[in-house]
């Protein structure tokens, strides 16, 4: 495809301007809010924060599978959201680890205590009310503020995604209904005998002045839960209880047919169901979508497992260290860029100058891409980027070395330029491919070991290499063609060759050859 150099030049200029604008901070000329939400993410080492690798540590005889782990992950995520961290990152790693990154957090002690605590699943008596999912409640096992405390509640790990609130309560039925119909009694059921009454909640808690709901059963009383279908084929969650749970729930449901029972994880309502029959050792929750049935069953099943999380490794960086690193790296980057620019102009003269112009476009485009892809910038990432500035020049160095050769062989100017680009291409392609292969392996390796330093470095270096191919070849060639066809390059000295060396130096302006 042939694009006239003048048009290509305008396109390149446009690319340069647009990417410079995009690369500059969000506050600068944010037309139409395009740059909103497009900030460079700073890694933990730059803005400070906490990274924790949690390891599931199930008690003897129990195993953690992918379902339970992903459920635990969701629980951890819910808790992190309570912390109000701006961009938390929570991911599962392997079969039994969860990686949590909390940028900008200062009270790491509290955060770790919060993450480590096993979750508590309870079925409560909502006192006849329908409590929509997401409601924070006090239960007779304590209020939400207790979750932040140091004390370990005797609860169970309870993973699971919160089913989307659909506004409609689910229904719960016994799979082996007990014959007697329970007569509903008045709202505000009396706590079951032996259930401890909750301590007085703290005043400033959102749910503090709310009622204290009675806990009927806990997660550990569930022996099984699985998604299945009822007689009509609708998705339901079937569950089974142990003896203690069965008798408690039987007691409750007998008295509350037609009323609600509510499932709560970490004092937050995840599901409310209407009791349709008396339930003892097994029952069903219907009125769900297939997805909700699946999520809820994972939550119930995991709730029966006690999955304490132990801190496998952690990394805390104070904010001051990060700030200093950014400043220093910025200065290093500018000095590095300037030195390279000076060297290029000194050594390669005119082509060097054009390469430096291409290098500026390269910097702007790369930076824009980091923003666009939401690349997390780490110290190693910055090092990767600064390194890629040096490597970006390599393609130009290769081409310009060829250009000198071609001119010395005795080719005319136009021919020499075209030949230089053509002949240099195979080595540029092959050498950069090997760097990209290394980047891919670095990325994979870093991803496997949860080393964000390494993935950050690999991504920035890889983006740098790809963009440098574009700018060093396409952009520089366009600049060269335009400069040559303008006809003012009359001295081979400008191209780094002595006049006597380039006998056939052709100063006549001529249309640049296309591809």
């Amino acid at each position: 495809m042939y694009i006239p150099p003048r048009i290509a030049f305008v396109a390149i200029l446009l690319l340069g301007v647009v990417s410079t604008w995009f690369a500059l901070p969000t506050g600068f000329l944010n037309v139409g809010g395009i740059k909103d939400e497009r900030d460079i993410n700073l890694g933990l080492d730059l803005q400070g924060g906490l990274q924790v690798l949690l390891q599931a540590d199930p008690p003897a005889g129990q195993t953690v599978d992918a379902n339970v782990l992903s459920g635990t992950r969701d629980t951890v995520e819910r808790r992190v959201n309570e912390l109000g961290v701006s961009e938390p990152l929570i991911s599962t790693r392997g079969d039994d680890q969860i990686l949590v990154e909390l940028p900008g957090i200062t009270d790491t002690e509290q955060a770790i205590a919060l993450l480590q605590r096993t979750a508590l699943l309870e079925v409560i008596d909502p006192q006849g009310q329908y409590l929509p999912p997401g409601t924070v409640v006090n239960t007779s096992l304590g209020g939400p503020e207790d979750l932040l405390g140091e004390q370990q509640l005797g609860g169970e790990a309870t993973p699971g995604a919160t089913p989307a609130p659909d506004g409609m309560p689910d229904t719960v039925t016994a799979s082996t209904p007990i014959a007697t119909d329970g007569t509903p009694i008045a709202a505000g059921a009396t706590p079951a005998a032996g259930t401890p009454v909750a301590e007085t909640p703290v005043a400033d808690d959102p749910a503090a002045d709310g009622p204290v709901y009675t806990t009927i059963i806990q997660g550990r009383e569930f022996t099984d839960a699985y998604p299945t279908a009822d007689q009509l084929g609708g998705p339901v969650v079937a569950f089974e209880l142990n003896d203690a749970g069965a008798s408690a729930l039987q007691n409750f449901t007998q008295q509350n047919i037609g009323r609600y029972m509510t499932i709560v994880v970490d004092k937050t309502v995840i599901s409310s169901a209407t009791i349709q029959a008396v339930i003892a050792d097994s029952g069903q929750i219907s009125g769900l979508t297939a997805q909700q049935a699946n999520d809820l069953s994972i939550q119930l099943r995991a709730g029966s497992l006690q999955v304490p999380l132990i801190v496998q490794s952690s990394n805390t960086v104070g904010p001051s260290l990060g700030e200093e690193s950014i400043d220093r790296s910025l200065i290093a980057g500018i000095v590095g860029l300037l030195t390279v620019a000076l060297f290029m102009v000194f050594f390669y003269r005119l082509p060097g100058l054009l390469a430096v112009a291409a290098l500026l476009i390269y910097t702007a485009v790369s930076f824009s891409l980091f923003k666009l892809f939401g690349v997390t910038m780490t110290l190693a990432g910055i090092a990767g980027f600064i390194l890629s500035i040096g490597m970006a020049v390599d393609a130009n160095v290769l081409i310009f070395a060829r250009l000198r050769d071609e001119l010395r062989i005795g080719h005319g100017l136009n021919r020499a330029v075209e030949q230089a680009f053509r002949n240099a291409f195979p080595s540029i392609r092959d050498s950069n491919t090997s760097t990209l292969i290394t980047c891919a392996i670095l990325w994979y390796f870093g991803d496997q070991t949860g080393t964000s330093l390494m993935t950050g470095f690999a991504i920035t270096l890889a983006i740098g290499v790809v963009v440098s191919l574009l700018t060093a070849i396409t952009v520089t060639r366009n600049f060269m063609r335009l400069t040559i066809s303008s006809g003012w390059v009359r001295d081979p000295w400008l191209l780094g060759v002595e006049r006597r060396e380039a006998a056939a130096f052709d100063t006549a302006p001529r249309a640049a050859a296309g591809d």
Binding site: E109, E324, A401, N432, I441
Partner: protein
Amino acid sequence: MTTLTSKRKIWYLLSAILIIPGLISLIFTGLRLGIDFTGGTQIQLQFQQEVSSVDLQAAVAEAGYDGAIVQSVDVEGGNAWQIKTQEIGEGTDAKNQLYAALESEFGPFTELSIATIGGSVSDQLSRNAILAILVASLFILLYIAIAFRNTRSPFVYGTCAIAAMACDVLFVIGLFSIFGWAFGIEVDTLFVTALLTVIGFSVHDKIVVFDRIRENMARRVGSSFEDTVNYSIAQTLVRSVNTSVTVVFTLLALFLLGGGSTRNFVLALLIGIVSGTYSSIFTAAQFLVSWENGDIQRLFGRSGPKRDTQVEAEARLAPSR
């Protein structure tokens, strides 16, 4: 005629002289491993009062951490120290007790960073680091073999590049082994990153030289293979040095001006990249000539072919691409 390749025995000797001290250090003392590989806890604290390393070491030992290593850290404001010890769990009483002890001894301080790596994590990391380097080498070998498929012996190019790259990696690891006992420099995850980058860059450089050789073979430049290699090295020499120089400039800027936490990483890159450029010219290309001339076969076997003749060289000029 004196050429680069005719002196290859000298280059081999020089390379050996450069690599062997580090290798000896590596065998006898190994590398000074950071907590990424050993597991443990690394704390960086900045004190308001002046603190001496001896006092700090003693206070930490008194708090129950005998083997702790205390080093000063280069941070704005100064008076910052790094304490490396066995695992202290984040959010445990052990950490609070240590901090309380330090505060009563030296007054208030700021926690710059604290990292704890569990034993199983560090084992996994060590395994993966070695694996990553091997996998990277294998993929690069395959890629070079594919890129040079039109030459007579594509795998020879790949093997020579990998062998020269291995010299670079050994050189860097060996030097860091010396730095370990000489300056207390530790190797961490970033060091592995640096090694992998050096691998990439080193091979990158070798491919450029080999590519010239491939091209000159096709153009039938030079009277023998050795001659062609010489000519190709001469043609790419300026480029090799210039590329290296630009990268060295940027790395030097990072080394001198960048943050303290990446300084060792940048140092490893700096050494590796200079070594990578050296080995392209003085090792990789020389390996190629040694192989083609049968030096290596002579070394290991009985009847290697003798010196190249012009006829042989002509015969093997593959019409590449």
